[in-house]
């Protein structure tokens, strides 16, 4: 128990500290790097609670793919920070409002579980024993057996979104040369080279 507590406080402290650095770092690339550190520590916290599959998926999806794109965009954009900073106070009311809403939600959730610890068990499915059922299999049960139609619908929504994004950005440019691999491989000396007998002094 002692070791778990030490690791919990380590991960939690680093996560909170780097979350603070995300919003306070002057360089946006540093912000993204701190964000990656936050994700990493969140994965560590997942591991501590025994959700090993979620921890690894967090690493693969958020750090391995989403944060790479973030980093890409932030590095490529030429952002004028003096201009961005100048108007920061006029967004403060909205920021405070969002902060209050999130804080209220957290208080309701945590307060509810403190006051009535058994309430969560009544509305959620029973958690299988990690020793008998690995949590990869347990998640698979929920996603692919109990809620397979919802899962399929979510997949369809994503597919539509993906096709929409492609349609919006696709443009066919004419007048550019493209490589047609099958045509290129299909060329033979017979079709590719033409032998012409040229009479001297006449040209082709």
């Amino acid at each position: 128990m002692g070791l778990q507590a030490i690791f919990f406080y380590l991960f939690a402290f680093v996560a909170v500290a780097s979350a603070f650095m995300v919003i306070s770092a002057r360089n946006p690339v540093h912000s993204v790097l701190f964000l990656i550190l936050v994700f990493f520590n969140a994965a560590g916290l997942f591991l501590l609670t025994g959700a090993e599959f979620l921890a690894m998926i967090l690493l693969v999806v958020y750090i391995g793919a989403v944060a790479v794109l973030f980093l890409f965009v932030v590095m490529m954009l030429d952002i004028d920070f003096a201009e961005l900073r100048s108007g920061v106070l006029q967004y403060a009311p909205i920021g405070i409002l969002i902060g209050l809403i999130v804080a209220a939600e957290l208080i309701v959730v945590i307060g509810g579980s403190v006051l009535t610890p058994d309430a969560a068990k009544a509305i959620t499915m029973p958690i299988p024993n990690p020793a008998e059922r690995t949590n990869t299999a347990a998640l698979g049960d929920v996603l692919y057996t109990n809620y397979v139609y919802f899962f399929q619908i979510a997949g369809l929504v994503l597919l539509v979104a993906m096709i929409g994004a492609i349609v919006l950005t696709l443009r066919h440019r004419t007048h550019i040369k493209r490589q047609n691999i099958s045509k290129q491989v299909g060329r033979t000396p017979a079709t590719g080279v033409e032998v012409v007998k040229v009479k001297s002094g006449q040209g082709v």
Partner: protein, 347 residues
């Protein structure tokens, strides 16, 4: 004995000892793999390769190490100093961290975790950060271009590697790396009545995926013919342009650690890990680690040969191969494998 000692201190000592032993063996192995890479490349081009330091040039890598370490590290004036020095550390730490879950022989694994293959996949998808950070922090054009190329390349080929891993997992039914090797004890060969042999391993049952995985591994580790991040004819040395001495060496070390890791992963997923090629007494007497190292070295030999005789891909060809050829192929194989396993009831 004090319970504190037996619960916390002694397991920690054992774990640290095992990790250090694995790291030292791995680093020495990488030193010789580096030499082998240069020797094979030289032999294909009818050169001698490094042959001065030690017998047959065997100690060349150690001489290189000393030279790198004793040189002065130079940090460009415009560079982002912290990130610039962090990048090679990230590269080498992540590449070595993956080895914690690799089973080298039956039971020879430091952390035998349930989601081993996912851990390997997750950490190797993080390796791109070393490259992006290095390229960005150098504050110069060529490193930045190299870093961007590399990020796009690694992200694209991870997709097909992921699907290849899924097909293997469908056949095995577990994410544990040791279980993947155990599952290859019987397969196609034993099904038609032969004794356990190399025909049972996944390379035969999933042959197209074996090829896709091998080529994707080349692209994922930025090996030729996919070494566009450091295409020296266009980008000088890509993201490594501004690096010298020890930081450069750490990038190289990370790269080769990742290459050896991919060779080991190919061995575990497709070539039966530590299992002997034929189940007869003489082969069974040989320790599993020997078979594992032999197979991984064989895969590395293929890596080195590809480097020696395949010309570099153009960038659009690389992307076409990843997204238009490997992605549909591996996706189709996932579906086909799932159907076959379901209909025949093999899994």
């Amino acid at each position: 004995m004090d319970p504190f000692f037996s619960i916390y201190v002694w397991p920690a000592i054992v774990m640290i000892g095992q990790s250090l032993l694995l790291l030292v063996c791995l680093l020495v192995f990488i030193a010789f793999i580096l030499l082998a890479d240069r020797k094979i490349w030289a032999a294909v081009q009818l050169r001698r390769g490094p042959n001065v330091v030690g017998p047959f040039g065997l100690f060349q890598s150690f001489a290189d190490l000393l030279k790198f370490v004793f040189k002065e590290p130079i940090i460009p004036a415009g560079a982002n100093k912290g990130v610039f020095l962090l990048a090679p550390l990230v590269a080498v730490t992540l590449a070595l961290a993956t080895w914690a879950v690799i089973p080298l022989a039956d039971g020879w694994v430091i952390a035998n975790i349930n989601v081993g293959i996912l851990y390997v996949f997750a950490i190797s998808s993080l390796e791109v950060y070393g490259i992006i950070m290095g390229g960005w922090a150098s504050n110069s054009k060529y490193p930045f271009l190299g870093a961007l190329r590399s990020a796009a390349q690694m992200v694209s080929y991870e997709v097909s590697i992921g699907f290849v891993i899924v097909t293997v997992l469908l056949c095995v039914g577990s994410l544990n790396l040791s279980d993947i090797v155990y599952a290859q004890k019987d397969g196609l060969g034993t099904m038609i009545g032969l004794p356990a042999s190399f025909l049972d391993w996944h390379w035969l049952a999933l042959f197209p995926m074996f090829i896709v995985f091998f080529i994707s591994a080349l692209a994922e580790t930025n090996r030729p013919p996919f070494d566009l991040p450091e295409a020296e004819s266009e980008l000088v040395a890509g993201f490594m342009v501004e690096y010298g001495s020890t930081p450069y060496m750490m990038f190289m070390l990370g790269e080769y650690a990742a290459i050896v890791l991919m060779c080991s992963l190919t061995t575990i997923l497709f070539l039966g890990g530590w299992l002997p090629p034929v189940d007869i007494a003489i082969f069974n007497w040989v320790p599993g680690i020997i078979w594992f190292v032999l197979k991984a070295t064989l895969v590395f030999f293929m890596f080195a040969m590809v480097k020696a005789f395949v010309p570099r891909y153009r960038y659009d060809q690389l992307m076409r191969l990843g997204w238009k050829v490997f992605l549909p192929l591996s996706l189709a194989m996932v579906v086909i494998t799932a159907f076959v396993l379901k209909l025949t009831g093999w899994a």
